[in-house]
């Protein structure tokens, strides 16, 4: 039996002494400007799944509010996935106006300049009037793109300082082969809120608030008696990225009639499928990088990918959260609930809509608190917020945030093992 008290990683064990963090990081327009330049234009940013563009000609358009970037991601006839700024080489129009589709070419609606899906410029009407435009060098502007585990990452630097594997710093190795592709169907939940984006990053990096803020939504299901403050277990860090193990109450058995009926149709994303676990077909539960302690009441591994992503592999899918700053006091939250398949029956559609409502309400609780936190910050009475020994990942994020702002961060920091030597 694992003694979980031995695995409640405290901040001091990771050498993280930054117990007070300036509120200015969360309220200052100057800090936001530095975040844009020093973090979001340097780090690799996850923007989607490769299964969103499975066939040649498939494309999606993504709007990244932090950088005001509008991006086309398309699969060419050659099968390669590429990313471009959505801007015509002629007079700059954002020429692809559908959020997704399949096309042979993109045609600008202003003067009908035409591009192939691989971004190359194929036709200029009245071409003789543009003798100075070399078609070969005037395709759509490329953005650096790489993939890991089916996730598409972009890098907006002229030349990335690190490759994607270097940037991922080992978290990719720990999660190698994790079965994300088994859960291709997603429901996307997006909302914009008046708060700093790091308020949400922090909320997903500690379990301390779960029994209080989520007392009606999550506490009964996930906060175990032996860990009443839901301290994350076995905290691991890889450069600025991290993972921590979270428990769950396997004897949670909702009695309310509508919820009970939903459980009987299709288990919610988070509810363990006891039969599947016994038979060794429980997806992420089998993966060696997840639940390394092999605790019997394993709930999820909260995986944070710097700067703005949290992934939670669960029993019947996984949750993906992304936090985009729009300004120092406003942000966009994007949540995706991934499942094995789309609803096949009306029973499943009802069950998935119910799980969607329940998952959304938990995130709404976090967002509501983050908004109140921003009101408190901006009121101006507090110069610092306090991070406890039980909030090591908040200290770690802040340390790496500061390193990025200072121009570093991309050189791998020592791992736990190296630091201990």
């Amino acid at each position: 039996m694992v003694d979980i008290n031995e695995h409640m990683t405290k901040a001091r064990e990771l050498g993280l002494g930054n117990d007070q963090v300036p509120v200015e990081y969360y309220t200052s327009p100057e800090y936001f400007r530095r975040e844009q330049d020093m973090i979001f234009r340097r780090a690799w940013l996850m923007v989607g799944r490769v299964d969103e563009v499975p066939e040649p000609g498939d494309y999606i358009v993504r709007d990244l509010p932090t950088l005001k970037a509008n991006v086309i991601i398309s699969r060419g006839k050659d099968g390669e996935v590429r990313a471009f700024h959505n801007a015509c080489s002629h007079r700059g129009v954002a020429l692809v106006c559908q959020e997704r589709g399949n096309a042979l070419t993109f045609r600008c609606p202003y003067h009908a300049w035409v591009y192939r899906v691989d971004g190359s410029l194929s036709a200029i009407p009245s071409e003789q009037d543009f003798p100075h435009v070399d078609k070969a060098s005037n395709g759509l502007s490329r953005i650096h793109l790489d993939m890991w585990a089916g996730f598409i990452f972009l890098n907006f630097a002229e030349e990335p300082e690190a490759t994607l594997p270097e940037f991922l710093a080992g978290i990719d190795v720990m999660l190698e082969g994790a079965p994300f592709e088994d859960f291709p169907f997603s429901i996307r939940v997006t909302d914009e809120i008046d708060c700093n984006w790091k308020n949400l990053v922090n909320a997903f990096n500690e379990g301390y608030h779960v029994a209080i803020l989520h007392s009606k939504t999550l506490r009964a299901a996930v906060v175990p008696k032996e860990n009443p403050h839901l301290h994350y277990l076995d905290v691991k860090h890889f450069g600025p990225h991290s993972a921590g193990t979270v428990q769950r109450n396997f004897d949670y058995n909702p009695q309310a009639p509508a919820l009970t009926w939903v459980y009987a149709q299709m288990l919610p994303t988070s509810a363990p499928d006891i039969e599947a676990i016994k038979e060794g077909r429980a997806g992420f539960y089998e993966h060696p990088g997840i639940n390394r302690l092999k605790i019997p009441n394993f709930g999820t591994e909260t995986i944070t990918i710097f700067p703005n992503i949290s992934i939670q592999p669960l029993a019947n899918g996984y949750l993906f959260y992304q936090f985009w700053p729009i300004s120092e006091g406003r942000m966009r939250t994007e949540v995706r609930i991934y499942s094995r398949h789309e609803p096949r029956t009306l029973r499943e559609e009802y069950a998935m809509a119910s799980t969607l409502a329940a998952t959304r309400d938990v995130v709404v609780e976090d967002m509501a608190m983050s908004r109140l936190q921003q009101i408190g910050f901006e009121s101006g009475g507090k110069k610092f917020q306090q991070f406890g020994q039980n909030e090591p990942l908040l200290r770690m994020f802040t340390r790496d945030y500061e390193a990025y702002l200072a121009g570093g961060g991309l050189t791998p920091t020592p791992t736990q093992a190296e630091a201990a030597e």
Binding site: E52, F185, S186, I187, R188, V189, T190, D191, K216, T217, P254, A256, P257, A258, L259, W261, E342, P343, R344, T345, L346, R347, E349, Y350, A353, S354, L356, A357, A358, R360, D361, V364, E365, M367, A368, M369, R371, L372
Partner: protein, 115 residues
């Protein structure tokens, strides 16, 4: 308002058709739940939650992608319970505590058209 009626055996849901029957998205249902008094949400929950299985035994007989108008109306009303039950079974109030009101959230089923 639609002139379609519920299938006869589900006439007990008639009092809730005006509230839930014309809503087409999860966000519309979420907004409706926030705006209703808790008593109305509880009455809807009390009428429908114990009989969900009975409703779906009926709906099982139809192709989900080609529901007759009466069954489509029934299913839209029933989907209202995905939101009402959050208020009744989880929060004990219509709104998520501390959240702004009214609170709209964009929810998209990627590549699938829900009812």
């Amino acid at each position: 308002m639609s002139h379609v009626s519920l299938p006869e055996q589900f006439a007990f849901l008639e009092p809730f058709v005006a509230t839930w029957g014309d809503l087409r998205t999860q966000d519309e249902r979420y907004l409706k739940r926030q705006a209703l008094p808790q008593g109305e949400l509880e009455a809807f929950h009390a009428a429908l939650a114990p009989r969900l299985e009975e409703v779906f035994v009926h709906l099982d007989r139809f192709d989900p992608k080609a529901l007759p108008e009466a069954e489509a109306l029934l299913f839209r009303v029933v989907l209202g319970l995905t939101e009402a039950s959050q208020a009744v079974e989880i929060f004990g109030q219509p709104r998520v505590p501390y959240a702004p009101f009214p609170h709209s959230v964009n929810m998209e089923w990627v590549g699938f058209q829900p009812h």
